[in-house]
Point group: none
Chain length 145, copies 2
DNA sequence: TCTTAGTGGAAAGAAGTGGAAGAAAGTGGT
DNA sequence: ACCACTTTCTTCCACTTCTTTCCACTAAGA
């Protein structure tokens, strides 16, 4: 399980340094292979290969639909299989770097089964724009929050 | 399995450079022969010959229908058997190059068993036109995305 | 001070590109 | 009908550019 925010940097070659905390988990639970993609072109999502394959399988079983087609179109457009180097760096796909403004300082968020990489300023703006409401929390139906 | 997007170029002779990542897979699993066609004239689809033959077989067993006739009509209209050269290039059928505006920068998308070649700008425009919404994602009902 | 995390960059190798030379196909004239 | 010429197509060679990998240094924390 990936948890929390670990700020890191993207160098001029477009390489993302995977924060040590996340790298430990990756080494332990998964291999060095990732599927890096995006659902909106605004932030990168890093799926350990196993997790992405699980999603592909689930998707293959789902009936054809507009949503499914759109999902495949966009995730395949931004997506690339990428291998982490010995120093724990991932070369982000160029299209995604450009569209999501991923350069210099970025935030890496643990989202349970995958990681999100976002431009810090952009991410703050989005949080401000669509904040979590009481109604959202109620809808989750989770006790103790 | 073909996955993700590997941008490449079509030169003035109409030759598509197959991205190295995809070429490796082709060399490994299939031969250099492809069936290049389209279902809508808007983007090219590249089927390794084996995969296309599998489709033909399935089609031969299906009962005659309007859908089948239309499928054969359009795929045979645009279709051509093409062999990859030693440098990993495919000469795209001229009709398809014209109708799908395949020149200069193009996106090559891995769709599991086949590849899609699309004009980059055109594909982006389509993504922008019908974006993937939160509701779409909810509708998929897949855990962990 | 020692160990672990993070960074930069050089060298080797792979990928991509253009174009020249050879082959094939098409055309016209005797 | 055959030959010669022209033009187009195809294949392959050679160069350039980019990518990847790995080494070594710096910085930070224990």
């Amino acid at each position: 399980m990936f948890r929390g925010n670990h700020p890191t940097r993207v160098d001029e070659k477009g390489r993302l340094k995977v924060p040590a905390e996340f790298k430990r988990r990756v080494d332990e639970l998964y291999g060095p292979q990732f599927f890096i993609t995006s659902k909106d072109g605004k932030r990168a999502e890093l799926y350990p290969m196993k997790e992405w394959e699980r999603i592909e399988d689930a998707l293959a079983k789902a009936p054809s639909s507009g949503a499914k087609k759109k999902f495949l179109d966009v995730t395949n457009y931004y997506g690339q299989v990428v291998e982490m180097d010995a120093q724990g760096r991932l070369l982000l796909p160029q299209l995604l770097r450009e569209d999501a403004t991923l350069a210099g300082d970025v935030a890496v968020l643990g989202m349970q089964t995958y990681l999100v990489v976002a431009n810090d300023a952009q991410h703050r703006a989005q949080l401000a724009e669509s904040p979590l409401t009481d109604a959202d929390i109620d809808a989750l139906g989770v006790v103790g929050i």
